[in-house]
Amino acid sequence: MKLPIYMDYHATTPVDPRVLDVMMPYLTDRFGNAASRNHSFGWEAEEAVEKARKQIASLIGATAKEIVFTSGATESNNLAIKGVAEMYAERGNHIITAATEHKATLDTCKRLEKNGYRISYLPVTASGLIDLDMLKESITDKTILISIMYANNEIGVIQPVAEIGRMAKERGVLFHTDAVQATGKVPVNVIQDNVDLLSISGHKLYGPKGVGALYVRRRNPRVQLTAQIDGGGHERGMRSGTLNVPAIAGLGEACELCQKEMPVESVRLGALRDRLKDKLTANLDEVYINGTMETRLPNNLNISFAYVEGESLLMGINDIAVSSGSACTSATLEPSYVLKALGAGDDIAHSSIRFGLGRFSTQEEVDYVADKVIDVVRKLRDLSPLYEMFKEGVDLSKVEWTAH
């Protein structure tokens, strides 16, 4: 077993060596521009792009022509939301999203809010899921788009996408889903789920960074978008710019591998994740799992070790790469807004650790991580005045703290 151990697969994944093999020729000999229509360099580049389009479409139940390449899922989310907002502005100005969305969605919505759009940010329950009745009530005749993520990047919970899609379709509202964490990990099907727009990122599914895709439905209904980047009319006019052929070829291959391996791999990861969860919960008291375990990515575990601060825990397990919702680990010094949205309180966010398992995770690694975390949590609890008070039977919610 090699140290450090990488267990932060929600943040990014390594490029699978098989993906790299497919990319290499397009970084070297086959360097053509896919838009060059009059020589073989262009043709072979275009061929690679079209193959990738098919591979991606196949993974999500779409057709190749419905795939638009972007620089990553942040751009895909921007293009989907701003593109719809602009294109359908005459029909309405209302967009529905959720409080636990990725910043690429939330910040995009905030920008639109400044430009006169009305945005509803649906709260989530303690499970991390939106309330479908609340969604239903939020839809008005001015609503043009619902943007709800498929699976959450922090807590891994999977939203009721099929129900949302059905509701959107019934009301004639477009449905966009940020499926960055779900695609390639769990079955995603845009037809079954009535998804109109879907964002994908390369580096979350063992492809390269700097490439992503947006699925844009072409039939029933035909979704139109106002381009956000102009200059040449590539990608059916929706996204100009010379295509990043090696990265696109890699993204395509990455999708094909995910599709092939998903049935076995998702079971393997689910078992490893449960092993980690069971070890931690069996050996430590006052451990809380954030978000429902019922509909959740098989590779995600988000857990709070009460009375232990997240950054200090990370410091003690410095040969393990994981992330925390603690304020001290974030650039903004604010604890995770996703965990806060679950309503569990800031202290739970401060004590949270996100474990993200992936293709190269092993049982040996899981056992090492579990033992190490248990050891460090115990050590830090010996240091924790809160754990001491808890053991003395003090109700911490009734203590008058000197907040600073």
């Binding site: 009375y307 232990v308 601060e309 950054e311 200090s312 410091m315 003690g316 603690s326 304020a327 001290c328 010094l333 604890p335 309180g345 800031d346 202290d347 401060h350 010996d382 240091l383 924790s384 005045p385 809160l386 754990y387 001491e388 911490l396 703290w401 000197t402 907040a403 600073h404």
Partner: protein, 135 residues
């Protein structure tokens, strides 16, 4: 973020972890911070009522590595000082000693607050117990 050697040392080998009996008249207890802010420090001093010298100090901290290191170092600095000398300890001394980055200065401020709270608690107890002359 990289931690300084000194922060790592205090984190890995925290000094004076533990608790004194809060009801002991010679013990002053200070608890500052809040769980929702991500740090709580409990700092205790045991004072010789005759000399007014801090004979021992203990801490427990919920917080990041820098908060743990700040309170650990604070207990070391307190020992051997009189209560009035202890009140002169400034957070900047902790910042310099631990080489805390700007984003972690609040940890040292909290430790200074904890010292002040512990001394204040001791003085209050001493007054009510009628041993104010030692203070």
């Amino acid at each position: 973020m990289a931690y300084s050697e000194k922060v790592l040392d205090h984190y890995n080998n925290p000094r004076n972890v533990g608790a004194f009996d809060k009801t002991d008249p010679n013990v002053g207890t200070g608890m500052v911070g809040a769980p929702e802010c991500g740090d709580v420090m409990k700092l205790q001093v045991k004072v010789n009522p005759i000399s007014g010298i801090i004979e021992d100090a203990k801490f427990k901290t919920f917080g990041c590595g820098s908060a743990i290191a700040s309170s650990s170092l604070a207990t070391e600095m307190l020992k051997g000082k009189t209560v009035d000398e202890a009140l002169q300890i400034k957070n900047t001394e902790l910042v310099n000693e631990l080489a805390l980055p700007p984003v972690k200065i609040h940890c040292s401020v909290l430790a200074e607050d904890a010292i002040k709270a512990a001394i204040t608690d001791y003085k209050k107890k001493a007054v009510s117990a009628g041993v104010a002359q030692a203070v």
